[in-house]
Amino acid sequence: MKSAAALLKQKFAPLPSCDLKGRPFVNKPSLRKKLAEYKRHPFSLVMMVLVMLSALVTAAIVLWIVIHVIMQGAPNLKASLFELEYDSENLSLMPAFFNTLIIAGMSLLIAVPVGVAAAIFLTEYTSSANKFVAVVRMAAETLAGIPSIVYGIFGMILFVEMLFKGFSLIAGILTMAIMILPLVMRTTEEALRAVPDSFREGSFALGAGKLRTVFRVVLPSAMPGIIAGVILALGRVVGETAALIYTSGTVKAVPDSLFGSGETLAIHMYTLSSEGLHVDEAWATAIVLILLVLVINGAAEFISNKFRKRY
């Protein structure tokens, strides 16, 4: 058994710059050599610089935002922020944190099975020339692009005013589920369509039925793509404010039941900073929100890799 340190060292050991006979590798040109080659193709050089710059700018902006949030938020990360109950003294983010988990988890629990099942129906059980499928697909595409506030108003009218008579987690959950449903469906559909037909044929040729082929061959192959879609959906719920303010409300507590009102982290940040009094705490909350998103993405990546390795 090698120690972890030895393994790491082996993994990150610098590659030799020359072969065993001491000759330099000829297929790894230096930057100067590369530039000399580009001299004959000035347009290629310009494009290369442009794409490199774009990548750099993107990375820089993300880094800048994260560093800014940390610089502003870290000094304000006090223990009192993490007390279980919120009051106007501690400005605790914990109720909002739990509400976020509840709303995100439950809305996914509704939207993912329905969205994946709908995508399975559209890709595996209907022919691509089908008019109905084309209409559903166009509808889903349109719905996925509608601003979230529209879902918020819809949720307010249907769930808050007509069904549950008041702001509640369940109204927020259902609204979020409806909002991410088209997204989950579209991304799953893409993932299923990317599975080669030869896998399906191989399964049918062995005497497997439709159901077995879909669940044992097609779905596992599409899993990394489906998980990527679920992460996108999760990101939209965790970052949502407008639609949730109108449905689950802004109460700073975890309600006794799903029928009570409670705010999420994003809304908590919004209310803290919009009053102008607690901007420092809003920054600290932002750190927690970013961490939450990072952890979720990491977990999803891990699961996705598990699948990729297995298949």
Binding site: P196, F199, G202, A205
Partner: protein, 267 residues
């Protein structure tokens, strides 16, 4: 409704004991395009039947009518009769999944599932109700042995099948087809994507397997048909132009078009 000029060149034997497959007056349409035109053929047990002909003449289409893989193509309609051991496979009560268990298929491009070698082989038996681990282990080993690839793969059963070479993948697919214990093995140009050495191995394997199975192989390669098959059928534009013993078809073709094709004058 049998056109005499076609029947002339098609070997059909007496009805004493039914052949493995008996195909009669088979037509197949993709939409309005007729891809098979009144095909008659008897496919014998424990023989290798080769199907040759230029691209697009309907070889794959014909092969797929034997295990009803055409069912999944929208707009594909079949008329006529295909009997397996005397029973019409297009009859109402036929269980397509059981038919495909009896009639295995190997495709032109190796198509292992993106799973481990073991799971690839075990998928079929599990489909048909084998659950016990020890039984599955036995099937995996015996199938890989039958496909002459056990020695190469026995140490990497848990590794992904996608990491194998093309030739290994194709033999894995043969093993996968054998794992459900079929009577018939249909192979659609199984070596067209492979190098000469892998091709040789698969030809050898086919020779070995015909002792226990009925084999129908589509091939683009006339030498291959001549080397390994007992019977050869020549398709042209959806018609079975000539069908008979491989030696006769190659040495003394009865139809001018067969002769032209075999001598490389067209196609």
């Amino acid at each position: 409704m049998i056109r005499p000029e076609l029947r002339q060149n098609v070997y059909i034997r007496g009805d004493a004991e039914p052949p493995k497959f008996r195909v009669r007056d088979l037509d197949l349409f993709y939409g309005t395009f007729q891809a098979l035109k009144s095909v008659d053929m008897d496919i014998e047990k424990n023989e290798i039947t080769a199907l040759i002909g230029p691209s697009g003449c309907g070889k794959s289409t014909f092969l797929k009518t034997l295990d009803r893989m055409n069912d999944i193509i929208p707009g594909c309609r079949v008329s006529g009769r295909v009997e397996l051991d005397g029973a019409d496979i297009y009859a109402g009560g036929m269980d397509v999944n059981l038919l495909r268990k009896r009639v295995g298929m190997v495709f032109q491009k190796p198509n292992p599932f993106p799973a481990s070698v073991y799971d690839n082989i075990a998928y079929g038996p599990k489909t048909h109700g084998v659950r016990k681990k020890s039984e599955l282990d036995d099937i995996v080993e015996s199938s890989l042995r039958r496909a002459a690839i056990w020695d190469e793969l026995k140490d990497r059963l848990k590794k992904s099948a996608l990491g194998l070479s093309g030739g290994q993948q194709q033999r894995l697919c043969i093993a996968r087809a054998l794992a459900v214990k079929p009577d018939v093995l249909l192979m659609d140009e199984p070596t067209s994507a492979l190098d000469p050495i892998s091709t040789g191995k698969i030809e050898e394997l086919a020779q070995e397997l015909k002792k226990d199975y009925t084999i129908v192989i589509v091939t683009h390669n006339m030498q291959q048909a001549a080397r390994i098959s007992d019977k050869t059928g020549f398709f042209l534009l959806g018609e079975l132009i000539e069908f008979g013993g491989t030696d006769e078809v190659f040495d003394s073709p009865r139809d001018k078009r067969t002769e032209d094709y075999i001598t490389g004058r067209f196609g």
